[in-house]
Amino acid sequence: MRNYHDMGGLPAGTVVPSEHDYALWEKRVDAMQMLLKDKQLLSTDEMRRNIESLGADVYEKLTYYERWCAAITNTLVQRGVITIDELARKMVEVQAREGGLKP
């Protein structure tokens, strides 16, 4: 069965030559990916598997580096490098410090 990321040859719209200057937070996600690969705590195949198992809705809704961020985080939890509890506590701390979530 064709998975949602496997889109070669499917009908789609006009290619809009869009680009943006990557935000610092996006580059930090990419940097984490590079550093974790160097430390052998993340493989390309794990990244792919975790992106390809986000589910079609999430995959479509997230931006590119949001998908990467989710996949890196899921890999680290799966490997036991960080725990869900640690992550949840830290997220609360970060959100409180940064002034809460904004739309």
Binding site: G8, L10, S18, E19, H20, L24, T73, E86
Partner: protein
């Protein structure tokens, strides 16, 4: 643009000439969303655990920012002036990059040559594989559903959307990248460039010509 980002651009001192033609858009660091909070949280946990360091993150970003299409263009210009180099590049792209002091890591780099009978273009239908060590980070459109879906079955229509018309008697060949293999297009050397030196030629090898959605610039 945030203060951090601004300072950063000044710190590392790489040549950003390739960026000047574009308008800088504001970045997104001033709003905290779920995933931006997650990035901060995961990074801080990894730092607390001693797995990564702030300095390591900074250096990785500098490496990334230092990569731009001038690396690919250097290979292309050398191939245009040196037939022996071109042969080596088409035989082993990774080794040819290393020969010019360009590190492409462990990935296999395959260079495909455009001729008067053949036009090549590259895509990654499954995700975003791209020769980033030679061209920098990929543009958004390269990662878009529309490009990934249509590049493989209606490449001529996609090329026209980039303003590139390939004559019907020229074959169009699309290369789908994989996690272990990256492609780079060697565009045709433009006419009227016989007197140009290698540095001047390199300026004609644009990013899009090395992805294969455009031809090289003319002088």
């Amino acid at each position: 643009m945030s203060g951090d980002h601004h300072d950063h651009d000044h710190d590392h001192g790489h040549d950003h000439a390739h960026d000047h033609a574009r308008t800088f858009r504001p970045d997104q660091d001033d709003t905290i969303t779920h995933y931006r909070a997650m990035e901060i949280a995961v990074r801080e946990l990894l730092i607390e655990k001693g797995i990564i360091t702030p300095d390591g993150v900074r250096r990785a970003i500098e490496f990334m920012d230092g990569r731009n299409p001038e690396y690919g263009a250097k290979m292309v210009a050398r191939a245009w002036v040196d037939p022996e180099y071109k042969k080596r590049m088409l035989a082993d792209g990774s080794a040819a990059a290393a020969e010019l002091g360009i590190d492409v890591g462990l990935l296999k780099l395959v260079v495909v040559e455009n001729t008067d009978r053949l036009h090549n273009m590259i895509v990654c239908t499954l995700c975003s594989c791209y020769p980033r060590n030679l061209l920098g980070l990929p543009p958004d459109w390269y990662k878009s559903r529309n490009y990934r879906s249509r590049a493989v079955n209606e490449p001529r229509a996609v090329l026209r959307e980039f303003g590139t018309t390939i004559p019907d008697d020229v074959e169009v060949r699309v290369h789908d990248s994989t996690a272990d293999m990256r492609y780079l297009v060697l565009p045709r050397r433009p006419a009227g460039t016989e007197r140009l030196d290698e540095a001047a030629l390199a300026k004609l090898a644009t990013r899009d010509s090395m992805i294969g959605v455009a031809l090289a610039d003319t002088p």
